[in-house]
């Protein structure tokens, strides 16, 4: 059964918008603005003979003079005393723990000559399991951020001497403690045993000190519900690998919810159709189309404000199935297509093997979720509260209390550690409150919104400069070791606390002392000694040095895991029923505030890689926007490029760019948090330095109710804005022209025939080309190839960032992306298709625009089919075609084929005709319009000496006027081959991993040698699901895609 689903990337493509069609014709739609440039300075294009001679003469002279330039003398400066473990030119890898958010993924840091250049997930870590998200990847650039504070500051002025600052602060703290005045350390979630010990030491020294935890995006609802139901305020460990049925209510667990890398790794283990094994089923109920929603087998749009009621209905439906007691709600809800009833049936059948979660921040809603999981006996099986998570511990009501007390003058000293409430909480009140404190200190690395208002800023180290440990889950320990010495005059936050408390440890004896060891000095942070001391008791008997060093080397250490047991349930579901009903009132438009997958909570708002990465669903870069359902957009008269004014509670924002989001539930709108920074820096926006903010800050729209900040704002008012604004959206930059690029089928069909959806007869192609040597059997060389499983790929975009870092891909910024000049070597194409099984539509799919108009009319303005879309993500990179169309059109042989199957790009030869880009059917070639690495117009990181530290020295930094594209990470291939040659052995399978494959949290990308018949990639090439994109062109690509299989009833 070959499917005939019509896929489309955006509405403009679907309805064949004339302006879209006009630009679509050309590969490079923007002509060079020569007229504009030349007319500006009095130049004219219609010059005469004399002018020509003048310019000609000048050019010849200039060239002649330039040729007289003397070759510069280059220096080579070796080490004075070479560290034993460093060989210039060879990378070292160190275990550490990612500090970009509080999840605590174990990572491996690649260090070249003392400078970290890449971070990847550590396979030893039970959190990251070898994968890493986009934010974790991009975290390395925060280390080389020129906006970081070079010195501590007092009242905005730099102080280079820490001792002076320390004496002032500790004196102030002491006088407060003596006077019985309160001191609050307001931190984000800290689960490091040593750091927590430092806080205890601080509290011991200053008896009036308290430690309050506050997360920008908190999980207060879950913490409170678990406290109420099980007497334990903690987030449980969710086991997605053990769940056969996953039901999520608005929890974006593959993108942003709690521990997305871990969850993606677990989730995908059951998502690959394997003979003799069932595939897990995933049902998503949500308002905005989240990354997780796009991967669901069945997705039901619901109104966010009524999520509690839907859950209560599900509770009752499950109770009915399992014979439990229903909860008293006035009315049971149902979604179109009887989703609740169907889900309840499936849940009841999958007792103990299912998982129900909700992204709600409402305690009552989470209590209902607990109740359902309790009925289904999931505790101890798919939910483990015994070995709970420590990744988020912040409670919103605590932060609210601190704010109130600080405003009332009841708190004298406030210390901000990893928190920025002026930006991500009630900013105006916090600004005022901080002024009332006698002592305000921030540990921020940059002069962020909160640090601007603090008296002292004592900048913390970046995590790559720090010692540390972490306990992301009970009994799971990770370690942090520095991979570079401090870039600036900074100090680790816990060390600052210890210094003020006068609780510094003794410096360890120098093990090199008196050994005459070529001047090696033992020069480590005092915090190292402190941390080692913490671990003294925990590692048991034996040589501490040896054990501790092993921990640092591995980066992980586990205590014996306790057996997961079902906790005692103390909840009373009837009690919360009224709260749920009360919470679901209101029929107006609901505003859903969500985290975007790239920028997340906004803490890394100055990181250009994250802004440049297209949003996995909307493909918008460099902005947040209001996601409107089609019905609402039509009602407001808003189209693409228009703006919307928003009034949400006390917050009014005007001219928010609008985006019509297929899949957005009617009567709801969504806006991402994490944007609108005013003191992030030159990339993210800074009032002080006069850089524009990116997008709008929606944090002030959140209000605390029932002990937690609500991420759904009810009854918002919307009007059409006066301005227009173009979003830099990459979705239709490379049109599919209606071609058959993705294939999908259902699990039931796959079970009958493994090539379901992929049974297109092979077209016989005649070719004038001789078969390449390496394609023949029994050839000695490698044949590199890749396989991408569309079933595993979630579309998260981590590969995009990883590729940019590995291959020195420049950031080009919003203006260039608007001109379709993004440089990413790998992109993720996202295709929509209608999925409405509603009765109005004849057949399941609307395939033509004419039919769509008919359906629009039959919907009576509800546009319900727009709510029901399904999505396929397809990573697209150079396909390394064996008969590559780009190669045959290059006039200078700059792109050629290697005997190992690689399509090579030689920058030295390229003269920039762009013929190859025009002739590439996959649209994966990128042209360098500017010298991004040395151009202040692109003021991101590439143009300053500190930002350049992140450049991979094994890959050329391309200059203006050349084409570039994915190379299959040829530098890694060469490195892997060379290692094998040096050791006199064949390259082992899996030894060479491309950057995208290495970071993929879903294991969707496999790379290897096809000449090795037992390699992973060879096996996937033999898989019946395999298909090559545009196979009919006979370009013989080297990337095999595997058909997407959904565990649902019909395609």
């Amino acid at each position: 059964m070959s499917n005939h689903i019509k896929y489309w990337k955006g509405e403009e493509e679907l309805v064949k918008d004339p302006s879209f069609l006009a630009v679509q014709k050309n590969e490079f739609p923007e002509a060079l603005p020569l007229d504009e440039v030349l007319s500006e300075d009095g130049f004219e294009l219609n010059s005469n003979r004399r002018d020509f001679l003048k310019y000609f003469g000048f050019s010849v002279t200039a060239v002649a003079l330039a040729a007289c330039y003397r070759t510069p003398v280059r220096k080579a400066v070796p080490y004075l005393v070479k560290p034993e473990d460093v060989t210039p030119g060879v990378a070292n890898y160190y275990s550490s723990t990612c500090g970009s958010c509080s999840v605590g993924c174990g990572v491996e840091v690649k260090v070249r000559e003392g400078r970290p250049i890449k971070i990847d997930g550590s396979p030893r870590s039970s959190i990251s399991k070898g994968g890493l998200c986009a934010q974790g990847q991009a975290g390395i650039l925060s280390l080389y951020d020129t906006e970081r504070l070079a010195n501590p500051t007092k009242n905005g002025a730099e102080v280079t001497d820490w001792a002076k600052l320390d004496s002032e602060i500790s004196a102030a703290l002491k006088s407060m403690a003596d006077g019985g005045q309160r001191i609050v350390v307001l931190s984000n979630t800290v689960h490091s045993p040593s750091a927590l010990r430092a806080v205890e030491d601080f509290k011991k020294a200053f008896t009036t000190a308290e430690h309050v935890t506050y997360d920008a995006i908190s999980y207060s609802g879950i913490l409170q519900a678990n406290k109420k139901d099980f007497g334990k305020s903690a987030i449980p460990s969710y086991k997605f690998d053990k769940a056969e049925l996953i039901v999520s209510f608005g929890a974006d667990f593959l993108g942003t919810w709690i521990s997305p890398v871990e969850f993606t790794k677990d989730y995908t283990t059951n998502r690959i159709p394997t003979a003799g094994r069932e595939m897990s089923k995933h049902i998503q109920f949500e308002s905005t189309l989240s990354l997780t929603g796009t991967n669901a087998d069945d997705r039901y749009p619901i109104k966010a404000g009524k999520e509690g009621l839907y859950l209560a209905s599900l509770y009752n439906a499950v109770a009915q199935e399992t014979g439990g007691k229903p909860m008293p709600v006035a009315q049971n809800m149902e979604v179109a297509g009887n989703g609740i009833a169907k889900t309840a049936k499936l849940l009841a059948a999958a007792k103990g093997k299912s998982l129900v979660i909700s992204g709600s921040s409402d305690m009552a809603v989470q209590c209902v979720v607990n109740g359902i999981n309790m009925m289904l006996e999931n505790y101890g099986k798919t939910i483990d509260l015994t070995n709970h998570s420590n990744q988020y511990k912040g409670t919103d009501s605590d932060e609210e209390a601190v704010l109130n007390d600080l405003s009332a003058g009841k708190i004298a000293g406030i210390i901000f550690w990893g928190t920025n409430p002026v930006y991500n909480s009630n900013g105006k009140r916090w600004e005022e409150a901080i002024k009332k404190a006698r002592l305000s200190v921030s540990f921020s690395l940059t002069k962020d919104e909160t640090a601007t208002h603090c008296t002292y800023v004592c900048p913390d180290n970046h995590y790559l400069e720090s010692w540390g440990d972490a306990e992301p889950k009970a009994g799971v320990y990770h370690f942090v070791q520095p991979t570079i010495s401090n870039v600036f005059n900074t100090r680790q936050a816990p060390l600052s606390l210890l210094t003020w408390a006068g609780a510094l440890p003794q410096r360890e004896a120098d093990p090199f002392d008196g050994k005459g060891n070529n001047g090696q000095k033992f020069n480590t942070s005092l915090y190292y000694s402190y941390m080692k001391d913490t671990w003294k008791g925990m590692l048991g008997e034996g040589d501490l040095d040896e054990k501790f060093n092993k921990c640092l080397h591995d980066g992980v250490w586990s205590a014996e895991a306790k057996e997961a047991a079902a906790p005692a349930y103390e909840g009373n579901i009837a009690e919360v029923a009224s709260a749920v009903e009360a919470g679901a009132k209101g029929d107006g438009v609901d505003l859903v505030l969500y985290e975007s997958v790239g920028v997340r909570d906004g803490a890394h708002g100055n990181n250009p890689w994250l802004h440049e990465m297209p949003d996995p669903v909307s493909k918008v870069t460099w902005d947040n926007y209001i996601a409107l359902p089609k019905a609402l957009a039509v009602k407001l008269g808003v189209g693409e490029g228009d703006t919307v004014n928003l009034k949400a509670g006390s917050l009014s924002l005007s001219n928010i760019p609008a985006l019509i989001q297929p899949g957005q539930a009617n009567n709801t709108v969504g806006i991402a948090l994490g944007y609108g920074r005013t003191a992030a820096g030159k990339v993210g926006g800074s009032k002080e330095k006069n850089y524009d903010s990116i997008g709008f800050n929606l944090y002030p729209a959140m209000t605390v109710s029932g002990g937690s900040r609500q991420r759904v704002v009810k009854n918002v008012e919307l009007t059409k804005g006066d301005e227009t604004y173009r979003l830099a959206q990459t979705q239709t930059h490379h049109s599919i022209e209606g071609r058959d690029l993705v294939r999908e089928s259902t699990f039931s069909a796959w079970k009958k025939a493994p090539n379901a959806g992929n049974d297109k007869p092979k077209t016989h192609v005649y070719t004038i080309w001789e078969k390449r040597d390496y394609l023949k059997d029994g050839q000695p060389n490698h044949r590199w190839a890749m396989a991408v499983d569309l079933n595993a790929c979630t579309g998260c975009g981590a590969c995009v960032v990883s590729c940019s870092i590995e291959n020195n891909v420049p950031v080009v910024g919003r203006d260039e992306i608007l001109k379709r000049r993004e440089m990413h070597w790998i992109r993720i194409d996202r295709y929509y298709a209608w999925a409405n099984p509603g009765k109005e539509v004849e057949g399941n799919y609307i395939t033509r625009e004419k039919e769509m108009k008919k359906v629009d009319a039959s919907d009576k303005g509800n546009y319900e089919h727009w709510e029901h879309v399904k999505v396929v993500h397809q990573p697209m990179m150079c396909q390394h075609c064996s008969q590559a169309p780009c190669e045959s059109v290059c006039p200078v042989l700059a792109t050629t084929h290697s005997s190992e199957g690689l399509n090579q790009m030689t920058y030295n030869r390229c003269i920039g005709t762009k013929y190859c880009g025009n002739n590439c059917p996959y649209k994966v070639r990128r042209f360098n319009w500017f010298r991004y690495n040395d151009n202040d117009h692109f003021d991101f990181h590439f143009n300053n000496p500190l930002g350049k530290m992140v450049i991979n020295p094994d890959v050329t930094v391309r200059t203006r006027g050349v084409m570039e594209k994915c190379s299959f990470c040829v530098q890694r291939i060469q490195e892997g081959k060379l290692k094998a040659k040096r050791e006199g052995r064949a390259v082992t399978d899996g030894e060479v991993k491309t950057a995208c494959q290495r970071t993929c949290p879903a294991n969707a990308i496999v790379f290897g040698d096809l000449h090795d018949k037992n390699s992973e990639v060879s096996k996937l090439y033999r898989n019946e699901r395999g298909f090559q994109v545009l196979e009919e062109l006979n370009v013989q690509s080297s990337v095999m895609y595997l058909t997407k299989i959904r565990n649902t009833e019909n395609v």
Partner: protein, 458 residues
């Protein structure tokens, strides 16, 4: 004017060459004097039992000099006259296994250990007790009297620049001028002659060009002639510029800048035969061979502070002193304190600069390809001052890749390639690319994809 200048230059060159000849004669002569003195002293000290000549060999073979100096305390104590200070039995024990001696609680041994900050000496059980006697005999030789140097050895000769071209040019210039003068003289004479004969000159109505050129060319249309000449100039000039551009621009073959330290590869790699890999540690594992860090120099130069034949009277050679300064090293101190904290890295001048966008890996060529350093770097062991030996142009790389064979039989990485080649040979496929005309397997680098772009450009 130039003539005179070039003549002067030539004279100066010959003189300077003579000078250097003179000095090198002295240098060759000096060791003779030295050994003569040595021989005399040896015969004087005949009553010591050991053979000092043998002792010297043992001293050098065991690299004692890397930690000891005869007359000065360095890492270890000054050794001259040690046989007079210590008992020979004790010395034998100490040299062969000092650690055992220390453990046995020997007071002298422990005092020595303490004096040198706990820095332990290596054990030398390979030295027999009889050899110890020889060694001590060598150490007990009296210090030879300083002779005072006329010229400091160790200062490298300035590299000879090739002046032949200039001399030739100068000669051509002189001859041209002579030719013109003679021509003028000839013309004047002819004129005078004609005047005297009362003849009218035939060529008086021709302009200079017509007079100069042969008749056939001179009668041509002048525009055509001009264009024709212009074309010749353009072709010749263009050809010259092209070859200049290809072979000269950016090609720094022969580049031999003066380095901050006058380090001699001739002395270290040539005379002393130190393995290249001892200092260039990265060459088998990294893309860069690496310029040695100063602490590698110190492995030997803690002990060796000047050339053996240095008779200038200084304690530390000024060039070695530069390493000490860079490391902030003070020979008089001991133990870990020797390297100070005010070190200043040595800024060597990079000689081998690859063209942009090219990737080169030493380990691929040295460890895998088993190439000698000299293949690309030339006779480095004969260079007083290192110079760029090869052009480092792409054509140079390619040529080698075309001709060099891979040792496919002895590296399992090439197993498949080797099997294929052997199979081809067995089946006697006359057209197989894998074996040469001699009928033996020959897989060149090029055959294995060594000419492909992305092997070096990415």
């Amino acid at each position: 004017m130039y003539k005179i200048f070039y003549l002067l230059l030539t004279c100066f060159y010959i003189c300077s060459a003579k000078n250097s000849l003179h000095s090198s004669m002295i240098r060759h002569f000096k060791p003779l004097v030295f050994s003569a003195i040595l021989a005399i002293t040896l015969s004087l000290g005949a009553e010591t039992k050991g053979n000092a000549d043998e002792g010297k060999k043992i001293y050098e073979a065991n690299n004692c000099g890397s930690c000891h100096n005869l007359d000065k305390k360095v890492v270890g104590p000054a050794l001259r006259g040690v046989g007079k200070r210590r008992d020979i039995a004790w010395l034998t024990k100490w040299i062969r296994n000092n650690q055992a001696l220390i453990k046995s609680g020997d007071a002298d041994a422990n005092a020595l250990l303490k004096e040198y900050g706990g820095a332990q000496m290596s054990t030398f059980e390979n030295i027999t007790p009889a050899q110890v006697v020889d060694l001590v005999a060598y150490l007990d030789l009296p210090k030879p009297p300083p002779t005072g140097g006329a010229k400091k050895p160790g200062v490298p000769e300035p590299p000879k620049s090739d002046n032949t071209l200039y001399i030739l040019l100068a000669l051509i210039g002189i001859f041209l001028v002579l030719l013109l003068i003679l021509n003028k003289v000839k013309n004047t004479l002819r004129k005078l002659n004609a005047e005297a004969a009362g003849e009218e000159l035939a060529s008086s109505n021709k302009n200079w060009l017509q007079r100069l050129l042969p008749a056939r060319l001179a009668n041509m249309n002048q525009v055509v002639l001009a264009l024709f000449s212009f074309a010749i100039v353009v072709i010749l000039g263009g050809g010259y510029l092209y070859s200049f551009g290809i072979t000269e621009v950016g090609v720094q073959k022969g580049y031999a800048p003066k380095q901050p330290i006058a380090y001699s590869h001739k002395l270290h790699a040539g005379d002393l035969k130190i393995d290249c890999k001892y200092c260039h540690i990265g060459v088998e594992e990294s893309k860069s061979a690496t310029i040695p860090s100063a602490n590698i120099c110190m492995n030997c130069h803690k002990g060796i502070q000047k050339r053996q034949d240095d008779e200038s009277g200084v304690d530390i050679s000024p060039e070695i002193q530069k390493i000490y300064t860079a490391l902030d090293y003070h020979p008089e101190k001991s133990g870990a304190e020797q390297f100070g904290s005010n070190g200043k890295p040595i800024q060597w001048i990079r000689i081998h600069n690859l063209p942009d966008h090219a990737y080169f890996n030493h380990s691929q060529h040295v460890k895998v390809g088993k190439l000698q350093c000299q293949t690309c770097h030339g006779p480095i062991e004969k260079m007083e001052v290192v110079q760029q030996w090869s052009t480092l142009q792409m054509g140079w790389c390619i040529e080698c890749h075309r001709n060099t064979g891979i040792d496919v039989a002895n590296n399992n990485y090439y197993l498949a390639l080797h099997e294929k080649a052997s199979k081809d040979m067995k089946e006697n496929k006359s057209r197989s690319k894998y074996f040469g005309p001699d009928g033996k397997v020959k897989v060149t680098v090029a055959l294995n994809g060594g000419l492909e772009c992305s092997k070096c450009h990415y």
